[in-house]
Amino acid sequence: MRKKLIMLHKQALLELQNCSSLDELSEIKVRYMGKKGELTQVLRGMGTLAPAERPLMGQLANEIRDELENKLSLSLQKIKILEIERRISHESIDVTMPGSVTKIGRRHPLDTVMEKIEEIFIGMGYTVEEGPEIETDYYNFEALNIPRDHPARDMQDSFYITKDILLRTQTSPVQARTMEKMHPKTPIKIIVPGKVYRRDDDATHSPMFHQVEGLVIDENISFSDLKGTLLSFAQQMFGAKRQIRLRPSYFPFTEPSAEVDVSCGVCDGKGCRACKYTGWLEILGSGMVHPRVLEMGGYDPERVTGFAFGMGVERITMLKYDLDDLRLLFDNDIRFLEQF
């Protein structure tokens, strides 16, 4: 019996060593350890042995069985890993093939910029206001200290619907409308995005374009507050290193008035082609609300002061994305739109 056990042991180990698949492995298991397996048979034959031999044989048989079981489970592990590795080796894909989700579209760059401007000012506590695009002469001009026959009307050649109704030439009428609605409450802190219209059509002017207007009215609002507000805006819009510069200018509804330049981002203000070698790019107009405009809006200019600013969204968009032709924005060529 001992011989038989040793032989079985040897044979089983050899088979295990040569075994390379799960099927073979379970076959081996059944052949030796199954109910009718050879080792099981031998163990069953233990009864026929002399009592003195039994413990010795029993011990040997058990040792062999334990070892085989151990080896079996080790082989099982090994073969499983081999099998997985074999499967994996056939399953490679080309990870450089494109993903299979539908393409997303794009927002218009002008709308994106407009929203960005809105976000910046909302962050500073401004409410977004709107007003009609077809506007009365009163709100578009008179309430902004631009009476009929005022030379400043030359700056804004208008599209008329009737003698007194026109396509607004600026978003500023919403200043007047808001004051009328709010007075005498303070503070007013609004921005007004929207379409405006002027009779101009060339490489730098479109008959329809977009503006964002801002207005703050409260006690103790000063020109320095305007400066700080616009610096904060410019740095959020164009980058933290940008500086601004204010130049005296003229708008009938502000006094003092200022044109605002931002330092050129291409050359860091040193002067380059983009900024025409000045180091500065004009971005908006601004000023302290004219006392007459405050009065017409129902506020006492001795009690409250305010500032206002207005920017062309096309201009900001062109600066932000380095566009050289305004008309690209209204051509709606998909090859242009998909770049943003």
């Binding site: 409410t127 599209f159 904060s232």
Partner: protein, 812 residues
């Protein structure tokens, strides 16, 4: 406005380069838009006198000249020019000279004769041909006789100058005169003014003058000064005068007109010279025109006048349109012997109206419109008279006629120190403020912490305290104002719900693959026909623009579709055949706004258009951009805006004129009509030159806003599993999917949680006029796991109901 650097230096003494000066001016609000450098544009060109001119011995085409160039030097010059005569003065570019176009002059041999220079034309000298008379333009530039050979042409013609182009804001009308620019430069640099001195001979022209002035409308003409000049010789101006005018972009005409122009540029006060002998009764009457009166203006145009327009008339008829342009009949000509020089102040708005109505703008009208110096009127006339005397063009009478019915009172404005600092956010002290006022040459009286400032008559833009505060800020420098943020009450920044929904909708549309476009709010009225919109339809209720730039932009759009179809076509023509776009913008309806004395109606819409198909991919089949594609896009939009699917209905509709009647629907949310969707009508496609099926939709985004919400409540996730069963039925075509779904859902209540169509089949095995629809039904109970038997029974019930109501057959 053009400024000559040399001229400026004559008026003010200061030590700055042109670039520094330009920067100072720009930073103080007088924007220098460009600087034209002419300093070294031409070099080495001198006046020469032709001592002899004879034909070249070898060729007829050339001539040889002996040219006296001063210093007893005579040069040989070969030229192809014609019309030369001995004794003539010519510009000669000597060897080494540089011409305006950059060419250099070398010693050159012409068929055996060396040429030691070149005779120059106006263009070669860098003169603007538009500002020249024809005899000056062609051939060798003629120099007047007063010049000596050897004089440097660049100096003579003022060509070595720097010219600033100013971009003036309307408030700084004063800077339309050189003197006021000089004042500004003096304030900014501390330079010393050297203004021309003029003797005021006072009102009263003496007995010899018979002319008279009468102002009928003292509101529109506040002052009229007439200076009489006799013994006038009208001729070409001297070279210095011509040169100065050409340099600032003016065309020399004759000595009298040139002096009036020069003085206008010097002082900002427009002047006009009348031929006194052509004025009937030697009378000047400033009055409104009579309707129907006519005048031929200096530009040769016949102008119809009306009684809104101010004219200068003689005893009989208008002789000038006041402040705008003179009349041809009273023009100064070579025959003129006596002139009446007008220096007047006309009401700006009136001049502006007249010039706009006539479509006639002039140097004069531009200045009057913006306002000129009312106190300087007489002195300017005297100045012009002095210059006329100086160039020996005429003899001025001693005094002048001054009609000034309501002299202006001196304007003084109170300026408070604390107000300055309040407005500017500064801490300026008394000294700084006074220094600025002194720099500006404003007289003031200090009174504690405030000043009473006298405003000079040339600064009509300063009337309020804030105007003075701007002056303080401007001269002191905007860069010295600190940078702070408003410190008032905190405010919550926000968008309203409508604005939020629009932004969200835009985001959702673009995330689904559509591109946002932006088209003009005005469209060509022909679009209404192209879109087959019938008469009296609401989309014909348009607002017309009175003065569009072109017919293309003639009316305000009542829908966005025209614009979108144009975008589709343009892209299609650029070989982009697969297009999905949307726009969010306003449409405008007339709504009889005039009768209601209201403004027209404006509404926001979201509109989309798509044609072609999704991009080809290797991974899955392409998606046709058809009705169902766009419908799916909208369904996603609604869902993402928080609107329940079951609250949105698409109802077949044939009423939208530009849509395919079999493939169009109106969109209802909570029974409210909110928009429409459909395939473009084949005729519309043809009208727009589109070859491909195109789908369109439009939503009144404000209505959608009312239903959109961010409020959502959690519903418990069912604890018991759902059973999902498919069901396929064959139904007649005319039964809509919606009807079938509705029946299924109502029959399946309350255990049927969802029914979804997942297949549509027509064709083989299905009779014509029928289709097979496959549904996926989700069954679920809240309190138990449903059994197969239970669901089988419910399934049967539904099939039975479908068979009864719609003659549906089960498809096995």
């Amino acid at each position: 406005m053009r400024i000559s650097w040399k001229w400026l230096k004559e008026l003010v003494e200061f030590e700055k380069t042109p670039a520094e000066t330009a920067s100072l001016l720009t930073m103080s609000g007088i924007e220098v838009e460009s600087i034209i450098h002419r300093e070294h544009q031409i070099e080495g060109i001198f006046a020469g006198k032709l001592l002899d001119v004879f034909a070249h011995p070898s060729t007829e085409k050339l001539k040889v000249c002996k040219v006296d160039v001063g210093n007893n030097m005579v040069l040989n010059v070969v030229t192809g020019a014609t019309g030369l005569r001995i004794g003539q003065l010519v510009p000669l570019a000597r060897v080494g000279a540089v011409l305006a176009d950059g060419r250099k002059i070398y010693k050159t041999g012409f068929k055996g004769i060396d040429s030691e220079g070149m005779l120059c034309s106006a263009e070669e000298l860098g003169l603007d041909p538009d500002k020249l008379a024809s005899e000056e333009k062609d051939g060798i530039y003629p120099l007047p006789g007063e010049i000596c050979p050897g004089e440097d042409i660049a100096l003579l013609l003022n060509l070595n100058d720097v010219v600033f182009e100013l971009g003036l804001t309307p408030n700084r009308a004063d800077c339309w005169g050189m003197i006021n620019v000089a004042r500004e430069v003096a304030s900014l640099t501390g330079g010393k003014l050297k203004l021309p001195t003029v003797t005021d001979h006072g009102a009263g022209a003496g007995d010899s003058v018979k002319a008279s002035v009468q102002i009928d409308d003292p509101q529109l003409c506040r002052r009229y000064v007439a200076k009489i000049i006799s013994d006038v010789h009208v001729e070409d101006s001297p070279l210095w005068l011509k040169a100065r005018l050409m340099n600032i972009g003016l065309r020399p005409i004759n000595n009298i007109v040139d002096i009036t122009n020069l003085v206008m540029y010097e002082t900002g006060q427009p002047l006009h010279a009348f031929d006194l002998d052509s004025l009937a009764g030697q009378k000047i009457i400033v009055r409104k025109a009579i309707n129907g009166e006519k005048i031929i203006t200096l530009d040769g145009q016949n102008r119809n006048l009306n009684n809104d327009m101010l004219v200068i008339a003689d005893a009989l008829k208008p002789v000038a349109i006041a402040g705008v342009m003179g009349g041809l009949e009273s023009e100064v000509t070579l025959k003129t012997k006596n002139i009446l020089l007008e220096s007047a102040f006309f009401h700006g708005p009136a001049i502006r109206r007249t010039s706009a109505e006539l479509g006639l703008r002039s140097e004069a009208s531009q200045r009057f419109e913006k306002g000129i110096d009312l106190e300087n009127t007489a002195l300017v006339a005297e100045r012009a008279a002095e210059l006329i005397l100086e160039i020996e063009a005429g003899k001025p009478a001693h005094g002048y006629i001054d009609s000034y019915p309501n002299p202006e009172e001196k304007v003084s404005v109170k300026l408070r120190k604390n107000r300055i600092n309040e407005i500017l956010g500064t801490k300026l002290g008394t000294e700084v403020v006074q220094k600025v006022l002194e720099a500006l040459n404003f007289e003031f009286e200090a009174n504690g912490d405030s000043w009473l400032v006298q405003i000079p008559s040339y600064r009509r833009d300063i009337r309020l305290e804030v105007d003075l505060i701007e002056e303080i800020a401007r001269i002191n420098g905007y860069d010295k104002i600190p940078t702070t943020l408003p410190r008032g009450k905190m405010t919550q920044g926000k968008k309203n719900w409508a604005q939020t929904v629009r932004a969200k909708a835009s985001q959702i549309m673009s995330m689904q693959g559509l591109y946002q476009v932006l088209t003009f709010s005005f469209i060509n009225p022909r679009h209404l026909d192209q879109l087959l919109i019938p008469e009296k339809h609401k989309w014909r209720d348009v607002i017309s623009v009175q003065n569009p730039l072109s017919e293309e932009q003639g009316i305000m759009r009542t829908n966005v579709i025209a614009g979108l179809l144009e975008v589709v076509r343009k892209n299609y023509n650029k070989r982009n055949k697969n297009i999905a776009i949307y726009e969010i913008g306003k449409v405008y309806f007339n709504d009889t706004f005039l009768q209601k004395s209201a403004l027209p109606t404006e509404k926001y819409v979201l509109a989309a258009a798509a044609t072609g198909h999704s991009e080809k991919t290797w991974a899955y089949p392409i998606l046709e951009y058809d009705f169902y594609y766009l419908k799916g896009v909208l369904e996603n939009l609604f869902k993402n805006l928080g609107i329940n699917e079951e609250d949105c209905k698409f109802v077949h509709d044939k009423s939208i004129p530009f849509l395919h009647p079999g493939r169009a629907a109106k969109i209802f949310i909570h029974q409210q009509e909110c928009g429409w969707i459909g395939e473009a009508h084949p005729l519309v496609l043809e009208n727009y030159g589109l070859e491909q099926k195109t789908v369109l939709c439009s939503l009144e985004i404000e209505k959608v806003t009312d239903f959109a919400t961010e409020n959502k409540l959690y519903r418990e996730i069912p604890r018991f599993p759902a059973l999902i069963r498919d069901m396929a039925v064959i139904v007649p075509d005319e039964i809509s999917a919606a009807e079938i779904l509705e029946l299924i859902l109502s029959k399946g209540q309350p255990l049927l949680k969802q029914a979804r169509i997942f297949d549509l089949y027509k064709g083989k095995q299905i009779e014509r006029g029928q289709r097979s629809l496959a549904f996926s039904l989700t069954w679920q109970a809240d309190n138990r796991t449903m059994t197969d038997e239970e669901v089988n029974q419910l399934h049967e019930n539904i099939l039975e109901a479908l068979a009864v109501k719609f003659k549906a057959q089960i498809r096995s």
